[in-house]
């Protein structure tokens, strides 16, 4: 199979196909960004092979188009060759890139969830309540996103509202990212809160000890006085 220069066969792409290719390129750039970010935010800096597989499949569909348009032997594609073949494969490629992006977003949500929980576990809830009051809203968002993990990968074909879902997902991940950042920068304030609470607790405990000692001494004196009175009579 050989690829021939465009001039030899005068084959190119229609306006619609170019528009779709542009959408694919733009989507791919966003997906790549999200994939790189999900690898960086992962607690073990791991890649997800499912994402790599989606990109491999997207590339496969793209190459089918290239072969159909520029391959020397058109019989290779068979009866399916033509604009419809190109359209179907472009849609399939876009679908795979979307799924790669959703996989990356799922991975990011899981990594941020894990990191947020682990960071919060180090502090008492009262401290979080005082220093990071927005946690309660983030908690709702985290639980919502948790319910949808893996939902997009389960869908074989992309729906019409996929762009909208994708944008909303990115917006939600942005909220988690900024909260996680805030949580990291709030660590000194949270530690200081615990230390202050500890001092208050300490002084309260000391006061209780002093009161107990005074109580014991006064009680002892009363008993001693009573015993003295009883023995005097």
């Amino acid at each position: 199979m050989e690829i021939v220069p465009l001039g030899d066969k005068a084959k190119g792409f229609s306006e619609d196909e170019i528009t779709q290719l542009e959408s694919l390129a733009s989507l791919y750039m966003q997906a790549k960004l999200l994939i790189l970010y999900s690898e960086e935010v992962d607690p073990d800096f791991r890649s997800n092979l499912q994402t790599i597989k989606e990109l491999r499949d997207a590339f496969d569909h793209l190459m089918r188009i290239v072969i159909e348009r520029f391959g020397r032997d058109p019989s290779v594609i068979g009866d399916m060759a033509g604009p419809e073949y190109c359209k179907i494969n472009l849609q399939k490629a876009i679908g795979h890139v979307y799924r790669a992006a959703f996989d990356a977003l799922d991975g990011t949500v899981m990594s941020l969830r894990e990191k947020i929980i682990n960071s919060l576990d180090a502090f008492p809830l009262e401290a979080v309540k005082d220093i990071l009051p927005e946690y309660w809203d983030i908690r709702i968002k985290l639980e919502e996103l948790n319910e949808h993990i893996g939902e997009h990968r389960a869908k074989k074909d992309i729906g019409n509202n996929i762009g909208e879902v994708y944008d909303r997902f990115i917006k939600d991940v942005e909220i988690l990212k900024s909260f996680h950042k805030k949580l990291l920068t709030a660590s000194p304030a949270l530690t200081e809160y615990i230390s202050k609470q500890g001092k208050i607790q300490d002084s309260s405990t000391n006061r209780q000890i002093i009161v107990a000692i005074i109580g014991a001494v006064v009680g002892g004196l009363i008993v001693a006085a009573y015993m003295a009175l009883v023995s005097a009579h």
């Binding site: 800096f45 791991r46 092979l49 032997d73 290779v76 399916m80 899981m110 979080v128 639980e143």
Partner: protein, 82 residues
């Protein structure tokens, strides 16, 4: 640079893939990853010295399909402080 597969190799590959000619693979999908048909981490490590690809994959820093499923289960079950 063109990579050309010899006639003999072509025949062997076509026979093992159960296809009549190389062109038939164009519309064939790659195999997926699942918990039953997963990436072999040991095999990846075995060939890491001669692989020129991803450092993450060579050093085993990836989630196989099974590991990914387990991670989803583990992380989604983690309780948020309340």
């Amino acid at each position: 640079m063109t990579i050309r597969v010899s006639e003999k190799t072509r025949d062997i590959v076509c026979k093992s893939l159960n296809i009549n000619c190389l062109a038939e693979i164009i519309n064939r999908s790659y195999s997926g990853f699942s918990s039953t048909d997963d990436i072999d981490r040991e095999k990846t490590a075995l060939y890491s010295d001669c692989n020129r690809g991803s450092i993450r994959i060579n050093t085993g820093r990836f989630y196989t399909a099974q590991e990914y499923d387990e991670r989803v289960k583990r992380v989604t079950r983690m309780k948020l402080p309340y």
